[in-house]
């Protein structure tokens, strides 16, 4: 290469140990392999360090009459020769989200150029059909925009008067809600670590759902302890029902049981509590929780709807999952009796027989409404009306 056609990098007084190496790499990157750059500069260690850098980088250093000349080696090109682009960052671009992302893309950002030879990660949920929903990005954005601070979103100091019976009923309901929200946090979180990060929006949405549940647990606990030093009862039957969610290893089935059927049912419960809340603080905590839960249900419906459209055999598996769970819980008590009673008392507003009768009627109506809405969600997923009704009736008596 003639000196005239050679690139020149003038570092001035900048040493290769003080950032000059960055400029050298950029100058070399701009050249094809075996092309040369003349390096000029007044740093006393320039030649010394250039020798060490060239040796480590696979470049040749030619010292001669024309100064320090570096001939670019092939190692940098060789490193990136087999690299692949891991989809595209913007999910809206056609083909951006791969159907089966490579295990070797690992935790690389979607859209990054990934060096060949990266280790394979063991993400077991790596098929787009299993986890993806186009709605995930929008739901995540919505969730991020409406995150609320438990310390300030609720006016904890608002004065109110409540009878002991009603306060006890609220404490029991809060105890029950905490238990169920703990399951709603942990069950998806167990899948979160198995989802290929290529499905970034789904990963983000599940993460923010977990954060939602963490806040719900906090505000329910705080409400329960507002005027009591202890929480209420936790029944073996209720826990048995929730355990079946933890024991479901399939993401589609677990998310069907939890998000569509469980959290869907919970939505009715939370709005029921909002309607009958005997104090402003209970009213606020259940309202805020219900708004979050609605997004969780929406995502469950969206990704299962997409999955079912691509794999109709999933219908049968979903139905079997409901039946299996029902069979497993056949001999358990279902809803904690104290929770049922507490709901009746809260809806009644007092222990006067006439009020209790009205409260009881309201809770029975709530159960019916829960069942109707479950059936409607199942129909939205494409189940025939009769099957939707039958499956809805098999749902756990524990609501979640």
């Amino acid at each position: 290469m003639s000196p005239a056609s050679r690139a020149v990098l003038d570092l001035g007084s900048l040493g290769l140990d003080r950032g000059g190496d960055v400029l050298l790499r950029r100058a070399l990157a701009a050249l094809p392999a075996n092309h040369e750059v003349e390096v000029r500069g007044s740093s006393p260690d320039l030649a010394l360090h250039l020798g060490a850098l060239c040796r480590a980088g696979g470049h040749a250093l030619c010292e001669g009459a024309s100064g320090l000349v570096v001939r670019r080696g092939t190692a940098t090109d060789a490193r990136w020769a087999g690299a692949t682009r891991a989809g595209r960052a913007d999910a809206r671009v056609s083909g951006a989200v791969d159907e089966h992302p490579s295990a070797r893309w690992g935790v690389a950002a979607r859209g990054a150029l990934v060096e060949a030879g990266a280790p394979a990660f063991d993400f077991t949920l790596s098929d787009k059909d299993e986890v993806w929903a186009d709605e995930a990005a929008g739901l995540y954005a919505q969730a991020a925009a409406v995150q609320w601070d438990p310390a300030t979103a609720i006016a904890w100091g608002t004065p109110f008067e409540l009878s002991d019976e009603l306060e006890d009923a609220i404490v029991q309901i809060m105890t029950y809600l905490i238990e169920n929200e703990t399951a709603a946090l942990q069950v998806p979180a167990r899948f979160l670590g198995r989802i290929h990060p290529h499905f970034r929006e789904v990963m983000q949405l599940l993460a923010i759902q977990a954060a939602d549940e963490a806040r719900h647990i906090e505000v329910f606990t705080r409400r329960a302890l507002l005027r009591r030093s202890q929480l209420g009862l936790s029944s073996a039957g209720g826990q048995a029902s929730l355990l079946t969610l933890f024991e479901e290893p399939d993401f589609a089935l677990a998310s069907f049981l939890l998000s569509v059927l469980g959290e869907g049912t919970f939505l009715s419960l939370l709005w029921f509590l909002h309607e009958h809340a005997p104090d402003p603080i209970t009213k606020d905590v259940v309202r805020l929780a219900a708004q979050d839960e609605a997004r969780h249900v929406s995502f469950g419906l969206a990704h299962l709807g997409r999955h079912l459209a691509r794999d109709p055999s999933l219908y049968r598996r979903l139905a079997l999952a409901v039946e299996r769970r029902h069979d497993a819980l056949r001999d358990t008590a279902g809803l904690n009796g104290e929770v049922w009673d507490a709901l009746v008392v809260v809806a009644a507003g007092s222990l006067l027989p006439a009020d209790v009768e009205r409260g009881h009627g309201a809770v029975v109506a709530l159960s019916q409404q829960m069942s109707d809405k479950r059936a409607r969600r199942l129909e939205r997923l494409g189940f025939a009306a009769a099957e939707a009704r039958a499956l809805s009736d098999l749902h756990t008596r524990n609501f979640m």
Partner: protein, 284 residues
């Protein structure tokens, strides 16, 4: 004999990863290679001479040790391959700003790495001696004996020497050129506080060594598979990165003259040669 046995020194836990990886690579290409790790180069040299391994990954000092001990026994050693990064290294003597020239090190304290480190001790001390400054007579040597027996493969001693310079505990320190760059870049040596007062002549570093009784076909296959390793092969690139090379180069022995002169001057080969005489007596 269908297995090629290779000896290497375990100077760092990553050595196991490296040789397991190389072993898989060779197995995939039909060469059964197994490796034996030694805690120090001297034991590896003796095992090599005793025929326990066929190929040894030798430090420059280990190369001189095995070559000389083999010659005593009428045998020959051959360097068959080395990393591209084993060629044309230099070391530097870095001093406080108050020391303007090499000559001003007289009566001063000079930090070096481990006593058996070619790059951080033996070659720089030879350079100083060739310039009229003999260690112990003209200046005090401050050793940083981290993992003696590893021949300076462990960077710890060299870093300690640089730290001693930075703290003002010594007047100068001897470092590999690449480590001078690394320690300047990471701030171990603060900008402008020290300066290079001498740079040694170029020298070579490690090589794969065989003795004249190594199985020729296995060694030939080993050489050919080594040279076939390519940096654009994603399977072997991580191993090449760990071992610090972009390509394997043919072995050459022209780059060990300064170290040989140092050994001659300081009698550095004698302990190993004496040990070999005791453990592996030369038959009349």
């Amino acid at each position: 004999m269908n297995t090629l046995l290779l000896g290497a020194v375990a100077y760092d836990p990553k050595v196991v990863t490296i040789w397991d990886g190389f072993r898989s690579y060779f197995a995939k290409h039909g060469l059964d290679l197994d490796y034996v790790l030694f805690s120090n180069y001297e034991r590896q040299v003796l095992a090599h001479l005793a025929g326990h391994v066929h190929v040894a990954w030798s430090s420059p000092l280990a190369w001189l040790q095995v070559e000389r001990a083999a010659a005593v026994r009428g045998r020959t050693a051959r360097a068959i391959a080395m990393r591209d990064t084993d060629r044309d290294l230099t070391s530097v003597i870095v001093a406080q700003r108050s020391v303007a020239t090499l000559g001003e090190l007289k009566g001063k304290r000079v930090a070096v790495g481990a006593a058996d480190s070619p790059q951080a001790t033996m070659i720089p001390l030879e350079h100083l001696a060739a310039n009229g400054l003999v260690a112990g007579r003209d200046f005090e040597v401050v050793y940083h004996d981290v993992l003696v027996g590893k021949h300076g493969d462990h960077i710890g001693g060299e870093r300690d020497a640089a730290k001693a310079l930075a703290s003002g505990a010594v007047d100068a320190a001897c470092l590999l050129d690449g480590n001078h760059l690394a320690f300047s870049r990471d701030g171990t040596l603060a900008a402008g506080k020290t300066h290079v007062v001498a740079q040694t002549a170029r020298y070579d570093h490690c090589n794969f060594t065989v003795l004249d009784d190594a199985p020729p076909q296995l060694v030939a296959r080993f050489e050919s598979l080594l040279s076939a390793m390519r940096y654009d092969d994603a399977e072997v690139r991580p191993l090449m990165d760990l071992e610090g090379l972009k390509a394997w180069a043919p072995g050459r022995t022209s780059g060990y003259a300064t170290l040989a002169a140092s050994c001659e001057r300081f009698g550095s080969l004698k302990p190993l040669l004496d040990q070999a005489a005791r453990e592996l007596p030369v038959r009349a």
